[in-house]
């Protein structure tokens, strides 16, 4: 116990160092020395340090590495956003503070995760409401009708829907016995995917599919269901390819973006240029031209990071996500209760899928779909949701060990 304590402290020291060095770099680059950057560095370090202190002091049984890894990723995100758009980064730090508070509150307030396994239909209702919300009162931003504006705040209800979706699937699959029990969750998953395709939010559709297939496999451990699901998904993808224009366009750009470089494929072409111009070690913070990439603070932040900090940092980010995923799955392994286990698996699958889909999209390995990179991208609701999910995993890891 004492030994891991020392290791944790070492990792925390490295995190602070990373935060300070990055912001110092940004501060020196500006011609009049930029004091704002140092203030940002200090605020971020204080936030991380204080939250770590609270978690270590009062919840020493939980897995502290979950918080450490997620804060490292957030630091990289905040630094990059500060370089791209200063106003957005201040908002991001505020959201980071809110999310960390949410994380701690989840750990403190939630009584016993097992007790939530009774509220199956509440979760079901939550899922459907949040999924359908954007259809009814949504507005269209960047070609997806999945945003809801509430008093000046724009948020994506499907992000909140994800939490309920995972919770619902965990309750539905927790005592799996026979095939009949799979029909109801199956219908729910299909309805959700349908909503997502109608809202032109293909990225979320992919994530939902990834979550459900992972949870299905963990709950039933039967390959035949997974194969059936993949088959159904392929059929669904074919049908939506035939029916909807936006799906066809995305697919066409993915196959060969170059003929459309100036109109439909502009984003992806710029992103590819951006990644390529960075090379192995990048141009250095503030010296590249990520401003040519559209939506560079949220969806394409990975391209901007690769350009300015190099593909080495890009790889490092993927490894860090993998470590985070490993810690989350570890919490699931050590847990005995099947509901908590499925919950942890679902949330970790959610984060992993999101990373794979957006990183694959940015480097044109899979059709591009606009979703955020969890923790790194600019975006309040995405960050809040990710931290809430991590908070629940943290709570689960306390029980398991």
């Amino acid at each position: 116990m004492l030994r891991t304590d020392r290791d944790e402290k070492k990792l925390m020291m490295y995190t602070y160092l990373l935060c300070i060095v990055c912001f110092l770099n940004l501060a020196i680059l500006k011609q009049p020395f930029d004091k704002g950057a140092l203030v940002m560095a200090l605020v971020t370090c204080l936030l991380i340090g204080y939250s770590y202190f609270v978690i270590r002091k009062f919840f020493s049984d939980g897995d502290k590495f979950i918080f450490i890894f997620s804060s490292i990723l957030s630091v990289i995100g905040i630094v990059m956003i500060y370089r791209l758009n200063m106003a957005a980064s201040i908002k991001q730090v505020i959201w980071f503070a809110v999310s960390v508070t949410g994380f701690i509150l989840t750990v403190v307030i939630l009584p016993d995760i097992k007790r939530f396994s009774k509220y199956k239909y509440i979760f079901l209702a939550g899922t459907i409401i949040f999924m359908g919300m954007a259809m009814v009162i949504g507005t269209e931003i960047n070609g997806s009708k999945n945003w809801v504006l509430i008093g000046g705040l724009s948020l994506q209800p499907s992000e909140f829907g994800k939490l309920f979706f995972v919770a619902y699937l965990a309750t539905a699959l927790k005592d799996f016995k026979n095939f009949k029990e799979l029909i109801e969750p199956g219908i729910v998953v299909m309805v959700c995917l349908g909503f997502m395709v109608l809202q032109k939010d293909l990225g979320s559709a992919l994530i939902f599919f990834g979550i459900s297939i992972t949870m299905l496999y963990i709950a039933t451990s039967k390959l035949k269901y997974v194969v059936t699901c993949v088959g159904l998904f392929a059929a669904g993808a074919m049908i939506s390819y035939q029916l909807f224009d936006h799906v066809r366009v995305r697919f066409m750009i993915w196959q060969n973006p170059w003929p459309y470089a100036n109109n439909k494929g502009y984003q992806i072409v710029q992103s590819l240029f951006s990644v390529a111009s960075g090379g192995l070690t990048g141009t250095g913070l503030g010296l590249g031209h990520p401003e040519y990439v559209p939506v560079n603070t949220s969806d394409f932040i990975f391209a901007a990071i690769c350009e300015e900090m190099g593909i080495l940092i890009g790889f490092a980010i993927i490894i860090l996500y993998f470590l985070l995923f490993y810690r989350c799955m570890r919490a699931a392994f050590y847990e005995e209760d099947s509901f908590s286990r499925l919950l942890a698996v679902g949330f970790s699958a959610m984060i992993a899928c999101q990373v794979l889909v957006i990183v694959g999209g940015v480097i044109n390995m899979i059709p591009l779909t606009g979703i955020t990179m969890p923790l790194v991208s600019y975006g309040g609701s995405s960050m809040l949701i990710t931290f809430l999910a991590l908070g629940i995993i943290q709570k689960i890891s306390e029980e398991g060990r």
Binding site: N25, F58, F69, I313, A316, L320, L323
Partner: protein, 142 residues
């Protein structure tokens, strides 16, 4: 130019720090995997001292039962602490550690668990010197 050299240094330092983090993290993970489920050196240790063994032949007065992770108490033989007492339920109660605190939980027993003379409703934090009694058997928490 001076600025570009500075930027080069920063660039390399940032990459070095990130890979240090990954290296340190991987080493911790390695230790964790190698250590397995073994989690021995706790800061505090807890135990239950038997004050009154009642009719249970397997218990001895003054013996101490160490509390590690979880101790389940009841009449059925798959409990960790088996009580031979007519007033104990099959799965009577459990004592477990969470966040460095020890918690006594009554698992819906018929005749109740008594902590310092009061019936435990659901869960109760334990502190050193507390007396727990189940049927005719009593323990002191140390």
């Amino acid at each position: 130019m001076d600025l570009s050299k500075l930027s080069l240094i920063f660039k390399i330092v940032i990459i070095a720090i990130i890979y240090f983090i990954i290296f340190a993290a991987l080493r911790i993970m390695y230790k964790d995997m190698k250590g397995g489920a073994k989690k021995s050196d706790r800061l505090k240790t807890f135990g239950l001292e038997i004050l009154n063994p009642g009719n249970s032949g397997n218990l001895r007065k003054g013996a101490v039962i160490p509390v590690k992770n979880e101790v389940t108490i009841g009449r059925k033989t798959d409990n960790i602490l088996v009580l031979n007492d007519p007033y104990a339920s099959s799965y009577h109660a459990k004592v477990y550690i969470k966040n460095g605190e020890c918690i006594l939980e009554d698992l819906g027993s018929t005749n109740g668990t008594i902590l310092n003379g009061e019936v435990v409703e659901h869960k109760e934090y334990l502190s050193s010197g507390d007396e727990i009694s189940i049927g005719s058997i009593s323990f002191k928490f140390i």
